[in-house]
């Protein structure tokens, strides 16, 4: 019984850490657990969360995508030009952002899959290329969207803010894709053992192309969702966000060595980071100490998660031996 409980606790360590953080800040800061604030936390998590869900697919295949911050900038920018110059409206702009993301993902995939260049190198190059393209298109100036963009970003459906709905939609689609489709199973198979996957007849190139398309598309959508809440796209937008996105995925249990991770875990990771950030603000922690405190929490969470994985591995090994002895 105790073993079952501890195993259950270990399996859900991230959720337990999340709960502990909520309780801690709830005790320290009155109002932290108010519905309004909890809604805000999820809303503000949506930006990093949507992109992190996408990059989880890449991480699962042992890949990396460093271009997501630049895609977050260039995708909405192309959408903005389409909205301004062709009057396509917000829905059309959203579709253009998706197409732009797909195009940027295809560029990454072409060099990685077709030419066999390491993902780190390719996406580092496109990080500069995509941002440079955006800077050139705007001559380093900000891009102001029409009022309808802001109306979209600040709108709600049945009282739920649109960014939260899009975050939830991305999560559900990603979860179903990873758990219920052949594509999802093949993503895990490649991450677990690429050579074995190839020998098993999995078309690894097609799967890898798919994950880079997903990563760039979600990054572009994430940028669009955030910019729709501000109405202005600055040239520095998205810079360095690739690290936040990867941190969210890893915090949610994704392994940088592939094969391990879930869309749900990533969503929790993104929300956990935002929860800590918000909690530090509610607690009135000194600005100089906030990054230190955030770094500590992330470190402890990842450490506990690693410990969890190790303990789980050990306990499962014991269980197998016990079964053999029986």
């Amino acid at each position: 019984m105790n073993t079952d409980l501890s195993r259950l606790a270990l399996r859900n360590a991230t959720i337990l850490i999340f709960t502990a953080v909520l309780v801690l800040f709830g005790l320290v800061a009155p109002g932290f657990l108010s519905p309004e604030n909890l809604f805000n936390i999820v809303k503000q998590s949506s930006f990093i969360g949507i992109a992190a869900i996408g990059i989880t697919f890449v991480l699962l295949t042992r890949g990396i995508d460093l271009s997501v911050g630049s895609v977050m900038y260039l995708g909405p920018l192309i959408a903005g030009f389409a909205m301004r110059d062709y009057g396509v409206g917000v829905a059309g702009g959203f579709a253009v952002a998706i197409l732009a993301g797909l195009a940027m993902g295809a560029i990454n995939a072409f060099f990685i899959v077709r030419l066999g260049i390491a993902p780190f190198i390719v996406t580092l190059a496109t990080l500069f290329f995509f941002r440079g393209a955006g800077t050139w298109m705007t001559s380093s100036r900000q891009f102001d969207f029409d009022r309808e963009m802001l109306d979209f970003g600040l709108s709600s459906v049945a009282g739920i803010p649109v960014p939260i709905l899009l975050f939830a939609l991305a999560l559900v689609i990603a979860h179903l894709t990873l758990t219920r489709t052949t594509f999802g199973k093949q993503v895990y198979a490649i991450g677990a053992d690429p050579e074995a996957a190839k020998k098993a007849g999995i078309r690894t190139g097609t799967i890898e192309t798919g994950v880079f398309l997903i990563s760039a598309t979600t990054a572009s959508v994430a940028g669009f969702v955030l910019i729709s809440q501000i109405g202005r796209l600055d040239v520095a937008f998205g810079e360095g966000r690739e690290f936040d996105v990867i941190a969210a995925a890893v915090l949610g249990g994704a392994s940088l060595f592939g094969g391990v991770g879930t869309a749900w875990g990533t969503a929790v990771g993104a929300t956990l980071i935002q929860t800590v950030k918000t909690g530090l603000i509610f607690s009135g922690i000194n600005l100089y100490l906030q990054p230190i405190a955030l770094g500590l929490v992330i470190f402890v969470a990842v450490l506990l998660d690693s410990l969890r994985a190790w303990r789980l591995q050990v306990s499962q090994r014991r269980a197998i031996r016990a079964e053999v002895a029986d």
Binding site: G231, F237, L287
Partner: protein, 333 residues
């Protein structure tokens, strides 16, 4: 953009103080990035004026990477440039870059973002603390005018990147002004922005949720006004001066958006960096040093700036670079 360049060039060319005496020189202009209107306008003013005077400009963009900027400056030195103008990434890297240039006998000017050591190089710097204090003095006055006698008010500051000396200076200026009326103000709420709109959005939303009763807001850069609007508007806090529930609001930079918002009544004041004065001073000093064969000129040129307020905009509108850009249709493009 052409209009923007013209505005900067005209402002410089029309300056009686600008010598423009230097013979044709090759100037390396290394900037960290051009993230906001201020940097774009400053970049345009410097490059256009130099080119119009027959100088060759080698431009280098470090994309916010201090190490890359150092390498770019070394590359410029290797190419044998006559002088260097930099907009550094931060105060510490600026010290290294200035030292590198002077050790190689190349005069260098630092534009607007000061090194942590001001003793070397031509340092053109806005007095951010004083400019912020002037703007916040006005905000304090307006907030107290609207308050009941004896009522204490809640101020909030959006703080920039704490690695940037400009951000620290602006924060200090804000506190200087608030502390003059310490008995009328609660401890200010500090919101980190890291000069990033997305960070500012999430942190401000959290701060306003935690403290809904805010009376005065100062943003350390005008480029965050659209972000403030996004947080305030759904809460019914985005009001003009004439409307009930107006939150006294100010910033610093003096950009086109701030000018428009002061006219609209949403913003009460902004601290203004005199961009054209700063560009003129940097060019004048570097070209004079080159002409005089002076390799390591060391001087600090301070821009005292000013505050453009809802009360002074009618008379002083065109003193602010953002209003000049606004009049030229900058926000319409």
């Amino acid at each position: 953009m052409k209009k923007l360049i013209t505005a900067g060039a005209l402002a410089l060319a029309s300056s009686a103080a600008f010598t423009g005496q230097a013979s044709a020189a090759t100037i390396c202009f290394a900037f960290q990035d051009l993230e906001t209107e201020f940097w774009v306008a400053g970049h345009a003013a410097i490059t256009t004026t130099l080119e119009e005077q027959g100088h060759t400009v080698i431009e280098r963009n470090a994309n916010e990477d201090a190490n890359r900027q150092l390498e770019q400056v070394r590359d410029c030195i290797a190419q044998g440039v006559d002088g260097i103008i930099i907009i550094p990434q931060d105060g510490e890297s600026a010290v290294t870059i200035v030292g590198e240039a002077q050790d190689n006998d190349v005069p260098i000017a630092v534009f607007n973002r000061p090194p942590s050591d001001l003793s070397r190089g031509i340092i053109v710097v806005a007095d951010n603390e004083t400019i912020a204090e002037q703007a916040v003095d006005y905000l304090v006055e307006k907030a107290l005018e609207d308050a009941d006698a004896g009522e204490t008010l809640q101020p909030l500051i959006l703080v920039g990147d704490l690695g940037d000396p400009n951000a620290v200076g602006r924060k200090n200026g804000f506190y200087n002004a608030i502390e003059k009326q310490a008995d009328r103000f609660e401890t200010p709420i500090e919101v980190a922005t890291e000069w990033d709109a997305a960070t500012a959005l999430s942190n401000l939303e959290a701060a306003v949720t935690a403290n809904p009763e805010i009376d005065l807001v100062f943003t350390s850069s005008d480029f965050l006004f659209p972000t403030i609007r996004s947080v305030f508007e759904p809460r019914g806090m985005w009001k003009t001066r004439d409307e009930e529930g107006h939150v006294v609001l100010g910033g610093l930079d003096g950009d086109a958006t701030a000018c428009q918002l002061i006219k609209d009544g949403h913003v009460d004041a902004t601290g203004v960096q005199d961009l054209y004065y700063e560009a003129e001073a940097a060019l004048d000093a570097i070209l004079s040093a080159i002409d005089a064969g002076e390799y390591a000129p060391n001087v600090v040129i301070e821009d005292p700036g000013f505050a453009l307020t809802a009360d002074s905009i009618t008379d002083s509108e065109m003193d602010m670079w953002g209003c000049v850009l606004l009049a030229e249709g900058f926000l319409d493009n």
